[in-house]
């Protein structure tokens, strides 16, 4: 009797443990799809409305391949993706959110090189051609960009009207839209009316690397050498001067209060916001949700301030990758290639997204989501694009910089001290990256 009891309890224990780990074998069952009906690929991305629309449209227009979309929360997407990849979860393709993560994924052998798949299509992939340096590691292509990366100056025409100052596109037309002019205009807006804030550069560490990126500085090069940091120092000094006058949104305040850049712009008293190509989409949804009081035509887009000729903006594309262990690589490629192509870009454009490779249809769609002709012109113009801080060291560089930046803005460091500490921390990062 006791032996029976023991067996019963042991069986229950093992059954419980078995149930706990039962979901580990899903890869095997999914592989049946290869032979029975359409191939279903498992695709991971985050909760952006546009992503779901792309998946839905692909599924609607394709019978041989279906996409099983796994939409994760944006806030912890990177963390979850890392955990899933290290557990070799059932992922055929995924979207890269933090671009510098690609280096670690490459080092760990998670990524499938895409050169042969692209070659098999018989033509060049325009999205890849547009952002080749951002998707190539050791001469291999590991990502297919679908969303273009570019930063712009977004401005509120009402604020400029109140301050009696020409809008930034006027300075662009005159070839005067430099960082010095940006500072001058920011101050002039606040000086005209103290309830107005001249400009905002968001709290992400990378936002201080605009000028460095335009000038072609890498901060730390891919082979572990410290590059020029003076353009980073220039922007930092400018930020402090503007914050001290109240002409720029205070970085620490926005961090502590978690005030999103869109909220800053929606409030209607911010003159200029330097942010990426995804922002028109947020203006469209903001208008639909009644999040701001001014009219849709009251804002505009123009170039980022730039001290060099020809004009350079900064920004990395958003791309898709295929896992090296996927059993449905060809199907996964078909999907991400479609997303980067004209059909995918036309759908993305409906959401105000700037595609990595634009088409005429996409341009027409984008134009519908922009406030005026001039904005369309600047948003869709052919431009040079550079990126600072894109290396295996990038994430740590950005975090270390952000910490020192706060110390500097709080007045705990002089410019020279910042310079010394930043270089020391870069050396430490290079020394301790293995």
């Amino acid at each position: 009797m006791n032996l029976k009891k023991l067996l019963f309890i042991s069986s229950i224990s093992f059954l419980t443990m078995g149930l706990l780990f039962a979901n580990g074998s899903s890869e095997e069952s999914d592989s049946k799809d290869m032979n029975e009906g359409p191939v279903t690929i498992s695709y991971y991305t985050w909760d952006d409305g546009c992503h779901q629309a792309l998946i839905d449209e692909f599924n609607k227009t394709h019978t041989d391949i279906q996409v099983d979309g796994h939409i994760l929360a944006s806030a912890d997407y990177e963390t979850k993706l890392t955990t899933l990849l290290s557990g070799r979860a059932d992922i055929d393709a995924f979207m890269e959110k933090r671009q510098s993560d690609v280096f670690s994924q490459y080092e760990n052998g998670y990524l499938e090189p895409l050169d042969s798949y692209i070659e098999a299509t018989g033509s060049k992939n325009q999205a890849v051609e547009n952002f080749k340096s951002a998707v190539t590691i050791d001469d291999g292509i590991y990502q297919l960009p679908w969303r273009g990366g570019a930063y712009f100056t977004y401005f509120n025409k009402n604020v400029f009207e109140k301050a009696g100052i020409p809008t930034p596109d006027t300075y662009v037309e005159n070839g005067e839209w430099t960082w010095e002019k940006f500072e001058e205009v920011s101050k002039a807006i606040h000086a005209a009316d103290s309830s107005l804030i001249g400009s905002s550069i968001y709290m992400w560490g990378s936002q201080a690397f605009f000028k460095a990126g335009q000038e072609g500085d890498s901060i730390v090069t891919a082979d572990g050498k410290i590059d020029n940091i003076e353009n980073v120092v220039d922007i930092l000094e400018m930020r402090k001067r503007l914050e001290d006058e109240g002409a720029m949104w205070n970085l620490i305040d926005m961090k502590v209060t978690k005030t999103h850049y869109s909220k800053q712009f929606y409030d209607g008293n911010l003159g200029m916001l330097l942010i990426g190509e995804w922002f028109p989409g947020q203006m469209v949804t903001g208008a639909a949700d009644g999040l701001y009081d001014f009219d849709f035509e009251d804002w505009g887009i123009t170039r980022l301030p730039c001290d060099r000729e020809p004009y350079y903006t900064v920004g990395l594309p958003t791309s898709n990758c295929i896992t090296s262990y996927s059993k449905k690589k060809q199907a996964a490629f078909e999907f991400i290639n479609w997303m980067s192509g004209p059909e995918g870009s036309a759908i993305a454009a409906k959401y105000g997204v700037l595609p990595a490779a634009s088409s005429e249809a996409a341009k027409q769609e984008i134009a519908k989501n922009l406030p005026d002709e001039k904005s369309v012109e600047y948003f869709l113009e052919n431009r040079n694009n550079n990126t600072a801080n894109f290396s295996p060291y990038a994430t740590r560089v950005e975090t270390e910089f952000a910490k020192l930046q706060e110390d500097y803005l709080l007045g705990n460091l002089t410019t020279d001290e910042f310079r010394t500490e930043f270089i020391d921390s870069l050396e430490e990062i290079i020394r301790t990256t293995y």
Binding site: N2, I9, T395, A402, L404
Partner: protein, 299 residues
């Protein structure tokens, strides 16, 4: 016959313990061993890694940031433990006796403890908001100077410690009320007959009678203090690196950043092992020290 009976009993006991033991082995013991092993590697989340000896530990202890995070962790632990235990004991003594409304007061002090730290962190973020938060509005209203609170590197950690104390002291209060109610009233009567005043009764009857619960409370508070993460993450910038200027970065937060932002799992594991050893050491010292002040025979 006797031997066989004993074996049967042992078998039954073992079979009841088996599920918990398996759970403990898989979810606690195995990860602990894995963390120790990973701390000697350059593991970054994938199959390609190698053993690097004590490199992660050397890197940690030669990094001034790591030492500063340790200092902040100790500061948080020390202040929060003193106040959580102190306030818990103070209110336990006040509320241990039955009087009209005592259950309401007990509930009021305990309720914060059942709230999610994330919700508490978010609520206090707005209360301590530097420009239009409730606290600054109130201070301005009564003519007192306002503060930057979480936006200042001088006050951010203190604000977080205060919130942690507010949320947690009720838990210790409830523990201590249970302990106080178990102390026999005859001991107080005897002490009173011997001429002991209230203070002497507290020192010579209450503290010894409560010492096992106090010992447990202090141990748990210290361990929780060392492990603090949620308040820091929610209230000072999350993945943007804590702050301001790293002033609230505790060791658990740096472990998170290294593991899930930089993918330096090897280094993060080394930091975790250091934190575990510190907690083990402090708990061991406390355990040794308890012989001097904890009495298990006062009833």
């Amino acid at each position: 016959m006797k031997r066989s009976y004993s074996l049967k009993n042992t078998g039954t006991v073992m079979s009841f313990l088996l599920p918990s033991f398996i759970g403990f082995s898989i979810f606690v013991f195995a990860p602990m061993i894995m963390a120790v092993v990973l701390s000697f590697t350059n593991y970054s989340g994938g199959p390609k890694f190698r053993f690097v000896g004590f490199k992660n530990y050397v890197m940690a202890f030669s990094n001034p940031d790591f030492l500063s995070y340790l200092f902040v962790t100790f500061k948080f632990m020390l202040i929060s433990v003193i106040f959580q235990i102190g306030l818990g004991l103070f209110f336990a003594i006040l509320l241990s006796k039955q009087f009209r409304g005592c259950s309401t007061f007990r509930s009021i002090f305990y309720i914060p403890n059942i709230l999610s730290s994330v919700a508490v962190g978010l609520a206090f973020m707005f209360i301590f908001e530097p420009s239009s938060g409730l606290i600054n509005e109130f201070l301005a209203f009564i003519g007192l100077p306002t503060s930057k609170w979480l936006a200042s590197e001088k006050s951010a950690l203190n604000v977080i410690i205060t919130i942690a104390i507010w949320q947690n002291f009720g838990y210790y209060m409830v523990l201590f009320i249970g302990g106080l109610q178990n102390i026999s009233t005859t001991l107080y009567e005897a002490a009173e007959m011997d001429g002991a005043n209230k203070f002497k009764q507290f020192i010579h009857v209450t503290i010894p009678g409560l010492s096992p619960i106090l010992f447990y409370g202090i141990t748990i508070a210290i361990i929780r203090g060392f492990q603090v993460f949620d308040y820091i993450y929610i209230m000072t910038g999350g993945q943007q690196g804590g702050g301001p200027a790293g002033s609230t970065n505790v060791l658990a937060f740096d472990i998170y950043l290294n593991a899930f932002t930089y993918f330096r799992f090897g280094y993060a594991s080394a930091e975790s092992v250091v934190l575990m050893l510190i907690i083990l050491f402090v708990t061991y010292i406390q355990n040794r020290g308890q012989k001097r002040w904890v009495s298990y025979d006062v009833v």
